[in-house]
């Protein structure tokens, strides 16, 4: 898939493209991604995936960490309900993701930036569609750039006369 010019969708992308960190479970969705590869299904080069054994392993810290360190979105994919290799890990992921997305929304992270989905090992095409659709959505939403938010302590009225004191002892 030729690289899109994302700044046409949202000018804020000027100079870069969306970055999505993926957490894929070892048994279903990671294999779906493998199948997308062996089937040569193209999808945008926005996803950088990390393999975990089960979506049940997904510590919410990982999602927050990825957003904090510059990801524009996080995609978590596991096995379909009733197909979890570990019985019910995907249900646990679903509950945690529901709570995480609610919390992150309050912190200004659009829920579409943190998505949960399922793909069985046979659903390479579904995996491809999911990544493509999420990329398009992130492209619309624009860059997240959490670094800018953190660095902005924004003294609206600077007070230059207060003398600067050096750090340290």
């Amino acid at each position: 898939m030729p690289e899109k010019n994302y700044s046409e969708i949202n000018p804020a992308w000027e100079g870069r493209k969306p970055v999505i960190v993926g957490f894929l479970c070892n048994w279903c969705s990671y294999r779906a991604a493998d199948l997308a590869g062996t089937s040569r299904f193209g999808y945008p080069a926005t996803l950088r995936d990390i393999r975990i054994m089960c979506t049940g392993r997904l510590d919410p810290t990982f999602v927050i960490k990825a957003l904090r360190e510059g990801a524009d979105g996080v995609l978590v994919m596991g096995c379909h309900p009733h197909q979890c290799h570990y019985d019910e890990g995907n249900y646990k992921a679903m509950r945690r993701m529901a709570l995480l997305r609610r919390t992150l929304a309050q912190l200004g992270v659009h829920p579409d930036r943190v998505q949960l989905g399922w793909a069985s090992a046979a659903q390479g095409a579904l995996f491809t569609e999911t990544v493509t659709a999420m990329t398009e959505r992130i492209a619309e939403l624009g860059p997240l750039e959490w670094r800018d938010t953190i660095e902005d302590i924004a003294p609206r009225t600077p007070s230059p006369e207060i003398e600067e004191v050096a750090h340290g002892k």
Binding site: G37, A45, I50, R51, M53, G56, A66, E88, R147
Partner: protein, 676 residues
């Protein structure tokens, strides 16, 4: 950490990776990453030369961690782990970066994007590999005895194979006799040999085998432990019979005044007494008293059976008995139940007298069944002149079960033959598709066609007694679209047989939880791999065979029974098993005993140690899914090989180009607790 030396190997995979990813650029870039001592690109890393390259570098440069950027870990992780092992490096200090399936093959038309992504993947792996720890596999010893749950044809076969190989087997069966559904059948397709004739000898063998301990009228209540070492609690329900005294003479049930419909063995088409032996060839031969229908338990008097028992074998006060077994392996062969055809009201079962289920019909054509093998209407007298057989009742139907029930086409064709043979009636089979994919099945289908059965390709819309046309009065009318001629047809018949689907038992989901295995939403047990590992489950040491894993006919169930036995025998032969060390561990000193994690484990591997007030993971039960690790609110559960730090480092690694200049996250309490 500074003395760690990482070796990075970027594979060309011929043109597969190098055609889309600038592998030299990736290797050069990786060389600049912290701790990377060697970074190379190579044509085929998985070749013996590629593997040797790693081994030599480990020895020559003292590499302590290895990253191979090539294909999926599902492809070659074991290959390179072995290479590390040969080089004297712990295999768990190796990490595979998947830049083929996840990069070069999916971004074929954009070399820049693919290369950038490959760097991210490799960057994540380099950061991750630095956090990995050496691990050693666990060794579990295998107890010799095996538990087989379910005494149908699949379970019987498993038990006999293992017992014949000289190993002890416990067989637990819920009903008073083994035999399962096969014992109810008259003839078996496609050979039409007598079901009882081929089954009875096997049942006898199970009952008399020196290596088999048979527990009928019993159920498994609890399973603890892990592969090689399961502890199983079995409830032997009170038969109310002292089996040591009983000779199986039959004086008791012939005197019993309570007659009830037998919903199990006779599928509701016949009667049994309150004290009963399900069928003459039952194994074991002892009867059982059904306390729900026994007059003595209801009214306090009767005891006819006791009065007539020549050996004083009746004990009305007998109680359930709990037996605890220690076994190394478990085979589940718990079978299926028939779909309740009353759920399809338009077919009239339960409303229209002469609508029968397939299992009722099996009993009807069975020589030892309620009609002595005669095909009769519900009045028990009249022979039908026309019989309609409706396929796919409760299967291939989104309203009930979407799956194909596998065996019903052949059973329906067998019925067509039996009706013809016994009555000369006209037969109409209504089918969606005829599925006859096994040996000699298609031939059987043609034989039935030649015998003159009418096969109408069309799903029956309804069965009604509302006559409309001449000749319909007093008949059941099957309305269906004959899709081969494109016409609606109304076929008046005397008898309708519904080919009800095979379904999991109502408690199948509960049973799957009890044994710690997965099952589909419907309740069919899930195999480890549907193609390559069909009788194993995700739980080591627990195997499945027969229709409990999906609709199957007799040959398939027998095959699976034998296959499960072979898997068990392999483990018994090995005597011990290596278990991957990807496990969760709890730092008990720091566990606060909040018990959040306690009921999360699908394998019940977490136990709460009451007197210490901490939770503990049994490493032999743990499968390493990590769900408790993510749940622990005080972060004192660690998931080996997928540790918190390794994944956090990998996140930073994959965001290598986004993290520049970002202030590193500081966190409180960066010192280990002991230091204070």
């Amino acid at each position: 950490m500074t003395e760690e030396k990482v070796g990075v190997y970027v594979c060309h995979c011929g043109h597969n990776i190098a055609g889309t990813v600038d592998v030299e650029d990736v290797a050069e870039w990786a060389a600049g990453m912290p701790n990377v001592a060697i970074s190379r690109d190579y044509k085929f890393m998985c070749s013996s030369l590629g593997q040797e390259l790693v081994e030599e570098d480990v020895k020559e440069y003292g590499l302590t961690r290895i990253v191979v950027a090539a294909c999926s870990p599902h492809m070659h992780e074991p290959t390179f782990r072995r290479a590390c092992e040969r080089a004297g490096l712990n295999p768990y200090l190796f990490e595979m970066a998947n830049i083929r399936e996840h990069a070069s093959w999916v971004h074929t038309d954009d070399i820049n994007a693919a290369t950038e992504k490959a760097k991210a993947i490799v960057g994540g792996s380099i950061r991750r590999v630095m956090e990995l720890e050496p691990l050693e596999p666990f060794i579990a010893e295998i107890n010799e005895p095996t538990l087989v749950v379910g005494g149908g044809i699949a379970g019987i076969n498993t038990a006999l194979e293992i017992a014949n190989a000289g190993h002890p087997v416990y067989m637990v069966e819920r009903e008073p006799s083994i035999g399962g559904h096969m014992a109810q059948l008259d003839k078996t397709f496609p050979t039409l040999d007598c079901s009882a004739c081929i089954l009875t000898p096997k049942m006898f063998d199970v009952g008399n085998h020196p290596n088999i301990t048979l527990m009928t009228y019993s159920e498994v209540e609890q399973v603890d432990g892990y592969v090689g070492n399961f502890t199983v609690r079995v409830r032997k329900k009170a038969r109310k019979i002292i089996t040591d005294l009983c000779t199986g003479c039959g004086d008791c049930w012939s005197r019993c005044p309570a007659k009830v419909v037998d919903d199990v063995y006779e599928a509701g088409l016949g009667y049994r007494t309150a004290i009963y032996r399900p069928f003459p060839q039952a194994v074991p031969k002892y009867p059982v008293i059904d306390v729900d229908t026994c007059i003595y338990y209801e009214k306090g008097t009767c005891k006819a059976c006791q009065k007539f028992c020549p050996t004083d074998a009746i004990d009305f006060d007998q109680e359930d008995e709990i037996v605890v077994l220690n076994v190394g392996n478990i085979v589940l062969a718990t079978g299926y139940k028939l779909f309740d055809a009353r759920k399809v009201p338009q077919y009239g079962y339960g409303r229209l007298a002469n609508v029968f289920t397939s299992m009722e019909f099996e009993r009807m054509v069975n020589a030892s069944g309620p009609t002595g093998g005669k095909v009769l209407l519900r009045d028990g007298v009249t022979e039908p002149q026309t019989v309609g057989i409706i396929h796919c009742v409760g299967s291939r139907d989104r309203s009930y079960n979407q799956y194909c029930s596998n065996t019903c086409c052949m059973a329906a064709l067998k019925f067509a033959h039996l009706v013809k043979e016994r009555t000369g009636a006209e037969i109409y089979n209504f089918y969606i598709d005829i599925r006859t994919p096994s040996k000699n099945y298609e031939e059987f289908y043609h034989r039935i066609l030649e015998e003159g059965a009418h096969l109408i390709r069309g799903r029956a819309a309804e069965v009604t007694d509302a006559a409309r046309l001449p000749g319909e009065e007093g008949k059941l009318i099957i309305q269906a679209e004959d899709t081969l001629i494109g016409k609606q047809r109304r076929i008046p018949v005397d008898m309708v047989v519904l080919m009800a689907a095979m379904e999991p038992y109502d408690d199948a989901v509960e049973v799957s939880h009890r044994f710690g295995i997965g099952c589909s939403e419907a309740g069919f047990f899930t195999e480890k791999h549907p193609k390559l590992d069909p009788v194993a489950t995700m739980t080591d040491g627990v195997f499945i065979a027969g229709a409990c894993a999906g609709p199957k006919d007799i040959p398939e169930s027998v095959e699976q029974g034998a296959a499960a036995a072979a898997r068990v025998l392999t483990l018994i032969g090995q005597g011990e098993i290596e278990i991957e060390p990807i496990r969760a561990t709890i730092d008990e000193d720091r566990c606060s005993g909040c018990r959040i994690c306690n009921n999360l484990c699908p394998y019940s591997a977490i136990e709460f140690v009451e007197d210490l007030g901490v939770s503990r993971v049994n490493p032999a039960l743990c499968k390493g899914c990590g769900t408790c690790v993510a749940a622990c609110p005080s972060q004192v559960i660690e998931g080996q090989h997928f540790t918190f730090d390794s994944i956090m480092a990998q996140i930073e690694g994959v965001l290598y180009d986004r993290m520049e200049d970002t202030e590193r996250v500081t966190y409180l309490g960066s010192q280990p607790a002991e230091a204070k």
